[in-house]
């Protein structure tokens, strides 16, 4: 039996997915298997003796199986979610075995994106653990003939308080399995004081496998009889093969055949891009064969896309009135009065994900069923697209989720997995599609290029009496609907609609932009450019007013209050405003704390050095960051120190959270130093790490100090929120060090040398 309830309270939205109609169900399955009953996508947990939840099973030897239903791409969610189950169960972590779930709707949402794994599944994980603990206690009480209320649990055992009798979980599993599954209301969750793991954290369950090379990523998946494929995609989005000649390709040793793949229909969504695949006995032969292909293309309408001209178009759009997203007072009336007006344009180019593991997937189509092994953030989307491409039912798509060699949002989009499935069907064998780094850079779903126009009328003390901000960027929904040109609420909310300043006249606008490449989510998404525009403009105004940037920022944030979004479309990352209000007091607090931790205003900064500050809320977490930079005479930027304070509510795994914020600083460094994708005649100019460099060890911050606010607020995101304030704070620090204002990213355009 399974009980499903509409968990709209926990509803989340990730961008254009709303268009696809994803309402996340809070799922509470109690699926009992009778012996011999075999689910198509079963786990050891499903077959365990005691199996009160899809996420959990306990065997008579005391082994606790916990199912990780979300993908592991480096954020430790595969460890941290099971840790919540284990804590509530009072299980010994050493006796826990984690299993990766296959794609399947019975697990609820599996799209590991949007920094909400903990937030959305915290309750479900606790309930799974508490349910099993309840049943084990009942079983022990019955055996001993004592009231259950006199029993409690200790590490992996049930204890009768007065007689000190003890029974291990393994011994009790069989008896507990005969008991009815308790209702949610009957469950007693552990008090915070009794938590073993939550709030203390744990290293990755896979740590040893990761350092010994035993961990299996998508790149490492192998099955008998598989062949390898490399695909020549249309160089321009929406292009088609006119004709091709594979004579030379077929002469390459190890190449077996070439296979055309159809171009996508209408909007690209997650369909394969199309092109010509070279099938070979090994990866190298496939790559070599592909170089010998001769393809002529019909490029289609995106051939006219040039980044320089496009930038001017965005900017021009942003200089004229656009669609109003939120308005307070009458900014125009104030601007019309004249006086001191300050304005600035900010620009962030397209950005690529460049996860260390390029796109790769292994597919086997056999007997009307497709089996996939893929490093995917979104196995249910794999099921959907593969079913559609192959004309089979979703239930016949079995998606194994390997470890991901990074994801950052790219691997939420399973075009590469669909490609493998299509090829396996055509070739009649298991096919592993391996993208080169060049394919990865050239055929990404890029973070949107964005232009932002900022304007303020300055009153006494340089404080704005009116504030206008306009952003223009091609929106993510354009991958589903080519005519989508305006920012959608779920991306405008990302640091734009919710500028947290307490100002009498405030207008927030958004203008249209047509996409010519695939646009997609990248770690922090629209928050990157929005926080950059707002937090750097704030810093500019502080300097213009001759005021301390910290003090000025706090002045603009104003007094602690909950921002009122009445009449404004503000999805709040899918969370309710009651559970997750927008509290400016929390933003203030992290800002004040980071000032203290970094010694703001107390430390001396010599020539060529400086510090910058920024504060931002994203994915329901409040973060403030101070970055210190040194710029030498050659214009080389070093980042000796970063301090960041975060308030993410309850933090389940502080160790993993610190790592995420350290990583976010490096990710942000890459954006500021060198992140730029451009197109000429619709073709992406960059190809590999020589022209899309990412931060290396000597370029990354030397030391990032992460401070976590102790909070009882419900859990919020930690994978993404570190990036946006870091980017802005670094740019503000560069100004402090050099007097040069960063308005266009990356800083290669700044002429620091």
């Amino acid at each position: 039996m399974s009980a499903i309830e509409n968990g709209s309270r926990r509803r989340f939205l990730t961008g254009g997915i709303i268009a696809a109609g994803a309402l996340v169900l809070g799922v509470r399955y109690y699926h009992k298997l009778s012996s011999g009953d075999k689910l198509p996508h079963d786990t050891n947990a499903d077959h365990a003796t005691l199996h009160p939840s899809v996420y959990l099973g306990i065997d008579p030897d005391g082994t606790v199986w916990i199912v990780a239903s979300r993908s592991e791409m480096g954020t430790t969610s595969r460890t941290t979610l099971p840790l919540i189950v284990a804590d509530e169960l009072d299980a010994d972590w050493k006796r826990v075995k984690i299993e990766q779930a296959l794609g399947g709707s019975r697990y609820g949402d599996q799209n590991t994106d949007g920094s909400h794994s903990i937030r959305s599944f915290y309750d479900a994980m606790r309930e799974a653990g508490a349910t099993a603990r309840f049943m084990l206690i009942q079983a022990a009480a019955q055996q001993w003939g004592v009231p259950a209320a006199e029993c409690e649990t200790d590490l992996h055992v049930v204890v009768h308080r007065s007689t000190k009798r003890r029974a291990g979980y393994g011994e009790l599993a069989t008896a507990a399995a005969r008991l009815p599954i308790p209702k949610r209301e009957e469950l007693k969750l552990k008090p915070k004081s009794a938590w073993r793991y939550v709030g203390k954290g744990q290293v990755s369950y896979d740590l040893e496998a990761l350092v010994t090379g035993k961990a299996i990523y998508g790149m490492d998946a192998r099955v008998d009889g598989m062949v390898y494929a490399s695909v020549e995609h249309p160089p321009v989005l929406g292009g088609k093969v006119k004709s091709y000649d594979d004579k030379e390709a077929l002469k390459v040793a190890g190449v077996r055949q070439t296979v055309p793949i159809d171009p996508f229909q209408q909007a690209p969504a997650f369909q394969p891009l199309g092109g010509i695949a070279v099938i070979a006995d090994n990866t190298w032969a496939a790559f070599q064969g592909r170089k010998k292909l001769n393809v002529s293309w019909d490029n289609g309408p995106n051939e006219t896309y040039n980044s320089e001209a496009y930038k001017s178009e965005l900017r021009a759009t942003s200089h004229n009135p656009c669609k109003v997203v939120r308005n307070i007072g009458d900014a125009d009336a104030v601007f019309a009065k004249g006086g001191k007006i300050y304005e600035a344009d900010y620009y962030v180019p397209l950005l690529a994900h460049a996860s260390m593991e390029p796109m790769v997937a292994l597919a086997e189509f056999k007997g009307g069923k497709a089996t996939l092994w893929a490093p995917t953030q979104n196995p249910q989307a794999v099921q959907d697209i593969v079913a559609k491409e192959l004309g089979i039912s979703k239930e016949d798509v079995i998606c194994h989720v390997t470890l991901l060699g990074g994801g950052f949002g790219r691997k939420s989009k399973p075009d590469y997995v669909a490609e493998a499935a299509v090829l396996s069907k055509k070739v009649g064998r298991p096919v592993k599609v391996v993208w080169t780094r060049e394919d990865d850079i050239k055929f990404d779903y890029y973070n949107a290029v964005a232009s932002m126009y900022m304007r303020a009328a300055l009153g006494a003390n340089g404080k704005p009496t009116a504030w206008l901000q306009r952003s223009v960027f091609p929106p993510i929904p354009s991958i589903f609907d080519v005519n989508a040109v305006y920012g959608d609420p779920s991306h405008l909310q990302q640091g734009w609609t919710d500028v947290p300043y307490d100002l009498p006249n405030l207008r927030i606008e958004n203008g249209p932009a047509k996409a010519h490449v695939r646009i997609g989510w990248l770690r922090s998404v629209a928050n990157i450019y929005h926080a950059f525009g707002i937090q750097c403009f704030t810093d500019e105004l502080a300097h213009a007013a001759g005021r301390d940037p910290l003090e000025y920022l706090l002045d603009l944030i104003g007094n602690p209050r909950a921002i009122d979004f009445k009449g404004v479309e503000y999805p709040n990352y899918g969370a309710s405003m009651e559970a997750y209000p927008w509290e400016t007091g929390r933003l203030r607090r992290v800002t004040e704390m980071v000032a203290g931790k970094s010694g703001w205003g107390k430390r001396k900064h010599g020539k060529g050095t400086g510090v910058g500050i920024a504060a931002h809320r994203s994915f329901l977490s409040y973060v403030a960051t101070v970055v210190e930079v040194e710029v030498n005479d050659q214009g080389e930027v070093r980042i000796p120190r970063v301090d960041t304070v975060l308030d993410a509510g309850l933090v389940v795994n502080p160790e993993a959270t610190r790592a995420q914020f350290e990583g976010a600083a490096v990710f942000g460094t890459s954006i500021v130093r060198s992140g730029e994708i451009t197109a000429t005649n619709g073709v992406i100019d960059q190809s590999n790490f020589q022209d899309y460099p990412v931060a290396r060890i000597g370029e990354a911050p030397y030391q990032t100090n992460v401070y976590i606010v102790d909070s009882d607020a419900p859990p919020a995101g930690v994978g993404e929120p570190g990036v946006p304030p870091f980017v802005a704070a670094l740019c503000n620090a560069i100004f402090a060090a050099t007097g040069k204002r960063v308005r266009d990213l990356p800083i290669t355009k700044l002429g620091l040398s």
């Binding site: 954020t75 350092v211 996860s355 350290e662 290396r696 060890i697």
Partner: protein, 151 residues
């Protein structure tokens, strides 16, 4: 036929001699610990030791490893963990982990030649190894911890 020694085992390869060592190791021998990240020597994910030297296997033709000793992560330590791997666990370096095999092979080679590398020496030796997850500060700390262990 190319004869070479991989992790202490003699191998002979009759395939394409130009095939990069990386693909020979991964696709032919099934040693998938070494990773593909860029294919042109820019990221270090494919780093192995050839006669003890850290080498980018994606740009080393298998022919050029003829008669040599190749060590991959699978053969870094005969039994148990290498001090660098231990330090990596202690400092909890990996995030996604994909780059870490290459980082560990590079760091192990560094510490073979330099007992107590300075920050600058670490940054120079590790400059060819990208970690997109951004674990650099822990990599540096782990190398120092391993250096302490190895002396």
């Amino acid at each position: 036929m190319i004869q070479l020694n991989v992790n202490g085992v003699e191998q002979s390869f009759g395939g394409e001699p130009e095939m990069p060592l990386l693909w020979y190791l991964r696709d032919v021998l099934g040693l998938t610990g070494s990773k593909f990240g860029c294919g042109i020597g820019l990221c270090g994910a494919c780093t192995v030791h050839v006669n003890g030297q850290a080498t980018r296997s994606c740009v080393t033709a298998t022919r050029d490893a003829a008669g040599k000793e190749v060590t991959t992560i699978e053969g870094l330590e005969k039994s148990g963990l290498h001090p660098v791997q231990k330090a990596w666990m202690e400092i909890n370096v990996p995030q996604c982990g994909y780059c870490q095999v290459g980082q560990i092979m590079q760091a192990a080679a560094l510490l073979n030649g330099k007992k107590k590398p300075t920050d600058r020496e670490i940054d120079e030796a590790m400059a060819g190894n990208i970690c997109r997850c951004g674990t650099y500060q822990r990599i540096r700390a782990a190398i120092k911890a391993a250096a302490g262990e190895m002396t």
